[in-house]
């Protein structure tokens, strides 16, 4: 029985600590489907995290936190869209700067706030209540996997719901089709009357807003304790990798989050598993944690290389990814 509870808590940890990745990934998929490569995920999540946390505590409401984090992300997206869509700036450079800038904002705001008074998450009853687990009736009663997979806080359900809705939106609706057309060939999309710039603005902002919520979720996971490590701590970069691993599909991103989350969680609880199952999993304790850290990036690098070698026909990578569309040069 005790061994089974180890597995249950392992599954639980995979979901709780890695669904922020899903937000980052799904947000980035929406942005990339419009043909824009935004390397600012890490920074945007950080901005969403700090403002969402601050205002959420200030209003003592999880909803306000989510809303503010979304808005902060949207503002970052607006900046990115303005520079790359309207002003034709290079996407790689703008995105990377957004990361540096976002982390700068995160530490600057956090440090200034700390100099006055840091809000402690435990003091805000509504946030604690809102972030508590809501077991799904029925499913959560299943043995072993029940409380591992089907008893989570509202942010987990929201993340999965956003991924499913966006999968539907991208693949089954007319605006989703138009968006994908822009990512593949903006000139052609423009010529059939699609407003390329408006679509890009809308979806870059939407995607970045979703990343912002993911950042806020990270803040809540960290219990809102501010120290020298950023709350996001590289999750934004893993999300960029996960987009490739998930082949630009929000539905596959749910699966991908579970795979990458599995490695993330092994890093933390590998030794617990090894202790519970010394016979079968004892070797886990000998693997250095950095291997698990590097695995998402190694796997993604391999996926990138293999899919380019095979010249995959069904690759989800938008053909125009990373390139700006300048109408006069059509």
């Amino acid at each position: 029985m005790d061994k089974l509870s180890v597995i249950t808590s392992f599954l639980h940890a995979i979901v709780v600590y890695n669904v922020p990745l899903l937000y980052g990934t799904v947000g980035e998929i929406v942005v990339e489907k419009s043909g824009s490569l935004n390397l600012g995920v890490e920074g945007i999540m950080a901005v969403g995290a700090i403002f969402g946390y601050m205002m959420g505590c200030f209003a003592n409401s999880l909803g306000v936190g989510i809303g503010v984090a979304f808005l902060a992300g949207v503002l970052c997206g607006l900046l990115f869209a303005f520079l790359t869509v309207s002003l034709q700036a290079n996407q790689n450079i703008t995105g990377l700067t957004l990361t540096t800038f976002g982390l700068g904002v995160y530490f600057f705001v956090g440090t200034s706030l700390k100099a006055v008074k840091w809000p402690v998450m435990g003091d805000y009853s509504n946030i604690m209540k809102g972030f508590a687990e809501l077991p799904i009736p029925g499913l959560s009663k299943l043995p072993v996997i029940g409380s591992g997979l089907f008893s989570h806080n509202i942010m987990v359900y929201l993340g999965v719901a956003i991924a499913v809705v966006l999968w539907w939106y991208l693949n089954k609706t007319a605006p989703g089709l138009r968006l994908r057309a822009i990512g593949e060939n903006p000139g052609a999309a423009d010529s059939v009357g699609i407003n390329v710039n408006r679509m890009k603005y809308l979806h870059i902002c939407l995607g970045c807003g979703i990343m912002g919520i993911g950042g806020y979720y990270m803040a809540l996971n960290m219990g809102g304790s501010f120290n020298s490590n950023c709350w996001i701590n590289g999750y934004g970069w893993i999300a960029v990798a996960l987009v490739i691993f998930a082949n630009w599909s929000p539905a596959l991103a749910i699966l991908g989050t579970f795979v990458f989350g599995f490695f993330n969680t092994l890093k933390v609880s590998g030794s617990t598993l090894a202790a519970a199952f010394p016979g079968g999993l004892g070797w886990l304790a000998d693997i250095p944690s950095q291997v698990f850290d590097a695995l998402p990036f190694i796997i993604t690098a391999v996926v990138l290389v293999v899919s380019s070698v095979q010249k995959k026909k069904n690759s989800g990578q938008p053909a125009f990814l990373g390139l700006n569309y300048f109408r006069e040069e059509r």
């Binding site: 800038f101 982390l103 700068g104 850290d293 990036f297 006069e328």
Partner: protein, 369 residues
């Protein structure tokens, strides 16, 4: 009446300089507003930042020495990146290449430092670092040329592979791990022998100029000549303008890409060798983010060799100055420099637009015709 944008030909130099100057000043202006909002006097803060806190400081020479330790790797990394960027090869793997270079340099210094004369050790450090970083970059270039692998995403992934390799070596006590001090129980990095440190030239007073500073300017000159006066430099420019034209002209574009990316990564490796040869100990934060900052510097400098030096000097000043100022202004985190750097780049990108494009009014009859 509507507005639309058209490309502008040849904006005069003075006008460009004005645009960029305005961009930087506006960025500093936004910074002042933020400082005022949290109750810090911006004039006092900026003064402290841009003088690196040297006014009335008895050990100011140390500040200059440390500042140059930041400046040299940043300038050299940025120079290296600019070569690849000129060909529109998006090498954003500077961070990973720097780490590979640093690991090779450190290995050479620790394993050979006590057995060979200093000059030989220094040469070996540089060669080892350049080879390691160069190959790490070449791998990506080869995949790009052969299979069309997306180099932006692949170099990004390889950065993190290098980061965690470094973390692993810095955190794992074992008999084989010569990177750590064998006499310590906890993982403490092994100090390099003195023979593996670059010599310094006394400049009067207590200030000593590290030879790396001179070398980096010599390398800058060589790169300038290489780009402007040699066939290979010309080829880089043609490939950057249009790879189709280059092929049509009979250039072996694949070979040019491979050679230039290798060369680009080698320079980043050399930056790592210079860093290791001045600080003398490896650490998990050895890169000081130059791989990332270098990209921004190269772009701000429009990939111009000499402007890269000027921008590196400015950006190192922001970063070094902000850590100095953070000691006096406790409520301002040293990451203020990152924010400021962001504002500067965003505004320079906007200024860039004004330089590259013109906004003109369209008349109705034009559009119908």
């Amino acid at each position: 009446m509507g507005l639309h944008i058209v490309k502008r030909e040849n904006c005069p130099l003075w006008k460009r300089c004005c645009f960029y100057l305005i961009a930087v000043l506006v960025a500093l202006g936004i910074g002042s507003v933020i400082l005022l909002a949290i109750g810090v006097n911006p004039v006092a803060y900026y003064t402290r930042m841009f003088t690196l806190g040297t006014i009335g400081n008895k050990i100011a020479y140390k500040t200059y020495i440390n500042y140059l330790k930041d400046f040299v790797p940043l300038a050299l990394t940025s120079l290296g990146l600019s070569l690849a960027f000129k060909m529109r090869f998006w090498n954003i793997g500077g961070e990973g290449q720097f780490i590979m270079g640093a690991l090779a340099a450190s290995a050479a210094a620790i394993l050979l430092g006590n057995t060979l004369p200093s000059a030989a050790v220094l040469l070996l450090i540089c060669v080892a670092a350049m080879a390691a970083a160069g190959l790490y970059g070449l791998l990506v270039a080869a995949l790009k040329v052969k299979f069309g692998t997306n180099e932006t995403l692949l170099t990004l992934m390889l950065n993190y592979v290098a980061v965690y390799l470094l973390n692993f070596l810095m955190g794992t006590k074992a008999g084989w791990n010569f990177y750590l001090n064998a006499n310590e129980l906890r993982p403490v990095p092994q100090k390099h022998p003195d023979s593996s440190l670059f010599p310094t030239i006394p400049m009067g007073g207590k200030f000593e100029l590290n030879i790396c500073v001179i070398l980096v300017f010599v390398i800058g000159l060589l790169i300038y000549v290489y780009l402007k006066r040699t066939k290979q430099g010309y080829e880089i420019n043609v490939v950057g303008d249009s790879i189709g034209t280059a092929r049509y002209a009979g250039m072996k574009t694949n070979r040019i890409v491979l050679r230039t990316v290798f060369f680009s990564a080698c320079l980043i490796g050399l930056a790592a060798a210079f860093k290791m040869g001045t600080v003398g100990t490896l650490s998990t934060s050895i890169t000081a983010d130059v791989g990332w900052t270098g990209i921004i510097v190269a772009w701000l400098a429009q990939l111009n060799t000499w402007v890269i030096f000027a921008v590196s000097a400015l950006i190192s000043m922001l970063h070094y100055g902000s850590t100095v100022a953070a000691a006096t202004f406790k409520q301002v985190d040293s990451s203020f420099a990152n924010m400021l750097q962001g504002f500067i780049l965003f505004l320079v990108l906007a200024a860039d637009f004004m330089i590259r494009f013109r906004i003109v009014r369209t008349r109705k009859e034009d559009r119908n015709g």
